[in-house]
């Protein structure tokens, strides 16, 4: 479904952020993209969404190359949950935020509202529907942000640090929600416990290229590998590895 082919990218000349990055994510896979700060995780997301253009190489979504003219088609397939939910929820109420994408994609207001209701019900968030965004808690806002993306019915869900700044209860709520999603998932996070809980495969980025790619259970248990790339074992494995 998602393919990076020999992608290079740099914000400034002579300071490459990504070097010859190649990987492929199949439909329905859950992939965790991990790495230290500055490894290039967010850049990968932005390239995939067409917010940045690669210096060389190509990115394909369902066989379609990510470029200016294909962006509407590509973006319709990808739902992106931002790290800062405040940047995602820009309308006054949760409902208005959720209906924003379905209306943009040509649904009638009635059909869009039905879809919003279905997503809210699925996530158990009906109570949030008419709440004002500035009146809901951080955890509720994160769940609402996920709901706004699910209302798009995307084929793949991309998430940037979905569990950051959440208390344990809300973190667990978000993890359970992610686990239940049927879509292809690409999640970047420093919360390796969450990655272990939600992803079957992990790509470890380091210095702009792939340092490891394989089953989460294997990579996240490899203390030497993780420490070599400025990371640590997940807390749940730290005592047992």
């Amino acid at each position: 479904m998602i393919e990076f082919k020999h992608v290079d990218f740099s914000y400034e000349k002579d300071r490459p952020v990504l070097r010859d990055l190649s990987f492929r994510i199949e439909k329905g896979e859950s992939v965790g993209l991990i790495g230290a700060n500055g490894a290039g995780k967010s850049t990968v997301m932005k390239l995939l969404l067409g917010l940045l253009s690669p210096t060389s190489g190509e990115i394909l979504v369902d066989g379609v190359r990510v470029e200016k003219k294909t962006l509407p088609e590509i973006r319709r397939k990808l739902g992106f949950v931002l790290q800062n939910s405040d940047n995602q929820m820009f309308m006054p109420t949760v409902y208005e935020d959720m209906i924003f994408a379905p209306l943009n994609y040509g649904l009638s207001r009635e059909a869009a509202e039905q879809r919003v209701d279905a997503v809210l019900q699925k996530l158990g968030l009906q109570e949030l529907k008419h709440r004002h965004n500035h009146r809901i808690s951080g955890g509720e806002k994160r769940m609402a942000a996920i709901a706004t993306i699910l209302a798009m019915e995307p084929e793949a869900v991309l998430m940037d640090e979905p569990s950051s700044a959440l208390d344990p209860y809300n973190r667990r709520l978000v993890i359970n929600t992610i686990r239940e999603l049927k879509q292809t998932k690409l999640i970047t996070s420093h919360d390796l416990d969450m990655i272990l809980d939600t992803c079957e495969r992990v790509i470890l980025l380091s210095g702009g290229s792939i340092a490891a790619d394989g089953p989460a259970e294997v990579i996240l248990r490899d203390r030497a590998l993780l420490e070599a790339h400025r990371m640590e074992l997940p807390f749940c494995l730290a005592g047992r590895a």
């Binding site: 006054p92 208005e96 994408a101 209306l103 993306i149």
Partner: protein, 267 residues
């Protein structure tokens, strides 16, 4: 809560106020918009010495405040910064126009004083009417009404996004002032020497935020066309509100009710 957080809270409160359920909230947005425009036009049309006629125009905002449940106090509080500026308009009139127009006992009141008061009152009334419109109509419904009147889509979207941008900028300002205050205890406000870098940072930060928000819109299918909330269909009740109010405005414009009542009592 610091000043900026308070400002943010006040801004958010406007959205909540606009989501009320009073009979005024229930009127269709185009009717309210047209009535407000009519009111402002009539208020502005009063001559500079027509103070007594103008004062009666207070009836419209007073009635609207009453029916909508919007508090008058909140109006004066929220507009506490703008009001003195409005009041300052015409402050120099008494200097330039010293012709005595009316005599109150032994005190002569000059044309300058009357025209100054007229200007001030006009400003306050117009602000009141605009505030009431904003406080009883959600911004996107208002924008949808503007589109109904065929205002260019770009202009209306700009209005809506500017309204949202004020919130983003205030949020960033709140974070920055708090960070500053925590490292400058005992200092009132921001020191002049930091103003330049502070403003520069504010601009950069709020632009970053605005870009993130815009990206978030693009990623959810936005393509220069905003789908506003559906505008409630105008009914006979809405038409009656607009026509009734406009008729009253015109009546008050051409019949000086205050003077009429005054002359009755003086006789």
């Amino acid at each position: 809560m610091n000043k900026m957080e308070k400002a943010l809270h006040e801004l958010a409160e406007m959205d909540e106020l606009a989501a009320g359920t009073s009979p005024i909230h229930g009127l269709c947005a185009p009717a309210k918009l047209l009535t407000t425009i009519a009111y402002i036009a009539v208020v502005l049309s009063f001559g500079k010495y027509q103070l007594s006629g103008l004062i009666v125009m207070v009836l419209y905002p007073v009635l609207l405040f009453q029916i909508s449940g919007v508090s008058v106090g909140s109006f004066f509080y929220k507009l506490r910064i703008v009001l003195p500026l409005v009041m300052a308009v015409g402050l120099f009139n008494p200097i330039f126009d010293r012709r005595i127009l009316i005599q109150i006992g032994t005190v002569g009141v000059s044309g300058g004083v009357i025209s100054m008061l007229t200007l001030m009152i006009k400003g306050v009334f117009c602000l009141m009417a605009s505030y009431l419109l904003m406080a009883t109509t959600p911004i996107d419904v208002l924008c949808a009404a503007l589109r109904k009147f065929h205002l260019p889509a770009t202009l209306v979207t700009l209005l809506l996004l500017t309204y949202r941008y004020i919130g983003v900028m205030t949020e960033e300002l709140a974070v920055m002032t708090e960070a500053y205050a925590l490292r400058a205890p005992g200092q009132k406000g921001i020191h002049v020497s930091a103003w330049g870098s502070f403003l520069g940072q504010l601009l950069l930060r709020s632009m970053d935020r605005a870009e993130e928000l815009y990206n978030s819109m693009l990623l959810r299918g936005y393509h220069q066309h905003f789908h506003y909330a559906p505008v409630k269909k105008c009914t006979g009740k809405d038409a009656a509100f607009f026509l009734g109010c406009t008729a009253c405005f015109l009546l008050l414009r051409f019949v000086d009710l205050a003077q009429l009542l005054g002359s009755l009592f003086v006789r």
